[in-house]
Symmetry: C2
DNA sequence: GGTTGCATTGACAGCGCTGTCAACACCAAT
DNA sequence: ATTGGTGTTGACAGCGCTGTCAATGCAACC
C-alpha cells in the first residue's frame, strides 16, 4: 500500500538516501558501480519518486506547464497527448492551461501560473509562442521555456525551440496540385494571429512563382481555423467568374468545410474540384473523400518539446530540433477536369 | 517572492497555524469569530494553500482526476474547462486523463492512476461512467468518485451522480420536428457504447409513439460520434425510396456530417430537409445554416460534478443533481415542403 | 463545589524529498 | 610526510502542510 520511498531504495542498495536522490536526478558525482547498484534497486522495487515531496523540497515542482490558445480542439487533444507521454516517461507532472494569447497581460499571467504551482518550466505552443513582446517580458522572469514555432530554419536567440517548416510543407502541397495540372488554386487562410498560417501562405505563393504562375489576390481568402470559414471561403471561391480547380485549406478543419461547401454546390471532389488540407487531423481521415494533407504530428512535436524542456531543467544541453511535415496524398486531389466537360450542378 | 504560508496567515490573524488549516479545510470546530478573523487575514495576504505540502502531509493530494474516453475533441475540451473552473475555485489540483473505457483492466488502471498521484477522487465521464462491472470493482478500492451519467431520474445506489436527461431532450427535439409537421424523421445513432446514445434513441421513439407514428427500422442508422458517419448515414437515408424530411443526429458532429451530405446531394436545408443535432458544440454554431440542437453544457455539467466530488472529499453531504438539456431552435429546421413541390437536384 | 462533557485551540511530529555542508578517500604536487 | 584538490558519499535540516493528541475554557451536571 504505502509506496516505495527513497529510503527503501537506499536500504536495498546499501547507500544513503541522498545518493539515491543523486542517481534519480542524474547528477554526475556518483561512482558508476554505485549508480548501477541503485538503479537495480530502483528497478527491483519499482520505485517512482513522489512528485509532491520533490516539489515541496526542491526549488521547483518537477512539473511542467503546457500552454495553448487554439480554436482547434483536435489539435489541442493531440498536443496534450504528446506532453503526457513525455511527462509520464520522465516522471514529471503536467499542468495543461488554455490562455488568451492576445491578452496584454499574457506574460504576467504565465508568470503567476508558474509561481502558483512552482512549475519547472513551460511548453509554449503556437500562437502563444509567437507573441514576441510578451516573450521578451517572460524571459526576464527566468522561467525555463521551450517554444514551438513555425520557421524554416533554426531561429536565433531567445528560448530553445522546436521549429516546424510550414512553408516547405505548404510548398509541397501546392506543388502536388500544380503537378496534377492545376493552375487556378484557391487558398483559404487560417488564424490571422498564427505565424504558421502566414508561412503556409508563403509556401503556396512560392510554389506558384516556381511554376511561373501569377499569384491572384481573389484566390486567397481570409478566415480562422474553423469549419465554417472553410465552408464560406470555398463558396466565395467557387462563385467567382473563373473559379479555381483546386482549393488548399490552411488546416484540415478549413478544408473539411471547403469540402462540404463544394459538395453542397453539387460539385464532385476530386473530379470537379481538388481539395487539400494541412495537419492530418481526424477531419482529414473521416471526411469523404479523405483529404490530401500534410502530416504534422502535433503529439510528436509537443512530446519532443516537452522532452527538451525537461532535459534543460535537469541541466542537460539542449539542441533545437526541426520537423518537416510530410505530404500525404489521399482521395481529395486529382487532375483537373478538362474545362469543356466541367459543369456546375445544383 | 516566497509565497504566503499558513504561518504568515496565522501570525496575521493571531492564531495558530493549525487553526488556519482548519478554516481552509472547512472544518466545523472553529468559533465563528475566529473563523472570520482568519478569513480576513487570508484575503488580505491573498493566501493560497500549497498543493504539494498539503498532498505530502495529508492523506490525499487535494487533487482530483478527470477521466474520459470520447472521440469528440470539442466535448473533451469543454469538460476540461469545466473541471478546471471548479478546481481553480476550490484550490484543488486537476489531473486530466484519457483512457480506454473498454479495456478489461479499466478499474485497475484507474486505481493505479489514483495511487500514483495520491488523487483525492475521480470524475468519471461517459462512457467510462457506464462500465458497470469495472465500476463495481472500482468501488471496492474506496476511491471517491462522481459519475456523470445519462438517465431520466436519480440512479439508486453506487457512486454519487450528475445525471443528464438525454431521453427527455431527444424527446423534445423530436417533438419539435413533429410539431413542424414532419412524419418521416431519420435518426443517426452515435457511439454504440454510450448510454446517452441509447437514451436519445429512446426519446426519439417515445416522441414518435406519442404522436401515433410508427417507428421504422430503416430510418434509424448506426454509427459513431463522428462527422463522417453522419455524412454516410444521411446519404443512406436520403437515398431511400421514400426519404425522411427531417434527420436527427445523435450529436452535433454527426448532424454536421448529415448537413454536408444533404447539401452534397443538392438538397436545401431546411427547405428540403430539416436537420437537428445534440450538444450545442461549436459545430452547431459554425455550420450553415446553424443547427437546431439541445444545449448540453458539458462544461457546466462537469464543473458541477467536480464540485460535488470535492465537497464529498471534504466531508460534506452531497446530493445528486440532474440536468435537462434545453432545446435550441436555429435555422436548420423548418416545416417540410409539400411533397409535390419537393425535388431532388444533383 | 467538584466533576464531567463538549467546543475550541495549539504543540508537535513527520510526510518524502532536496539543498547544504561536512566528511572521507584518494591521488598529485609540494 | 604534508598539503591541496577532486571525486564520492552521508548527516541533517527543513520545505508547508495535516494528523494526532493534549490543553484550555466554559457550561452543565450531580
Amino acid at each position: 500500500m504505502g509506496s516505495v520511498t527513497l529510503d527503501d531504495v537506499a536500504t536495498q542498495a546499501g547507500v544513503s538516501a541522498k545518493t539515491v536522490s543523486r542517481v534519480v536526478n542524474g547528477e554526475r558525482s556518483v561512482r558508476r558501480e554505485t549508480r548501477q547498484r541503485v538503479l537495480d534497486a530502483i528497478q527491483q522495487l519499482d520505485y517512482r519518486p513522489n512528485l509532491m515531496a520533490r516539489g515541496l523540497s526542491g526549488s521547483h515542482a518537477y512539473t511542467i506547464g503546457l500552454v495553448y490558445d487554439n480554436p482547434n480542439a483536435y489539435y489541442i487533444i493531440a498536443m496534450q497527448q504528446g506532453a503526457l507521454t513525455a511527462c509520464d516517461d520522465l516522471h514529471f507532472g503536467l499542468q495543461m492551461r488554455p490562455c488568451d494569447s492576445r491578452s496584454p497581460g499574457l506574460a504576467e499571467g504565465l508568470r503567476d501560473f508558474v509561481r502558483r504551482s512552482r512549475l519547472s518550466g513551460l511548453v509554449l505552443t503556437t500562437p502563444v509562442s509567437e507573441r514576441t513582446a510578451s516573450l521578451r517580458k517572460l524571459s526576464t522572469y527566468h522561467i525555463p521555456c521551450v517554444r514551438i514555432v513555425s520557421a524554416a530554419r533554426e531561429p536565433r536567440g531567445g528560448f530553445p525551440c522546436v521549429y516546424v517548416d510550414d512553408r516547405d510543407a505548404a510548398h509541397a502541397i501546392t506543388t502536388h496540385l500544380l503537378q496534377l495540372g492545376h493552375v487556378r488554386i484557391g487558398f483559404l487562410r487560417g488564424g490571422k494571429h498564427h505565424h504558421a498560417s502566414a508561412q503556409r501562405l508563403t509556401g503556396y505563393k512560392d510554389a506558384l512563382r516556381d511554376y511561373g504562375i501569377p499569384v491572384r489576390k481573389e484566390l486567397m481568402i481570409d478566415g480562422d481555423y474553423v469549419f465554417d470559414d472553410g465552408f464560406r471561403g470555398a463558396r466565395r471561391l467557387l462563385d467567382l467568374a473563373e473559379p479555381p480547380t483546386a482549393i488548399f485549406g490552411c488546416n484540415d478543419e478549413i478544408a473539411a468545410g471547403a469540402l462540404a461547401a463544394t459538395q453542397s454546390m453539387g460539385l464532385h471532389v476530386p473530379y470537379d474540384v481538388s481539395i487539400a488540407g494541412f495537419e492530418d487531423s481526424p477531419f482529414s481521415r473521416h471526411s469523404w473523400p479523405p483529404l490530401t494533407t500534410a502530416r504534422q504530428r502535433a503529439d510528436t512535436i509537443v512530446e519532443r518539446a516537452a522532452r527538451m524542456l525537461i532535459a534543460g531543467i535537469s541541466g542537460h544541453d539542449v539542441k533545437n530540433k526541426g520537423f518537416n511535415p510530410e505530404l500525404v496524398v489521399r482521395g481529395s486531389t486529382a487532375p483537373p477536369r478538362p474545362k469543356s466537360r466541367r459543369r456546375k450542378r445544383g
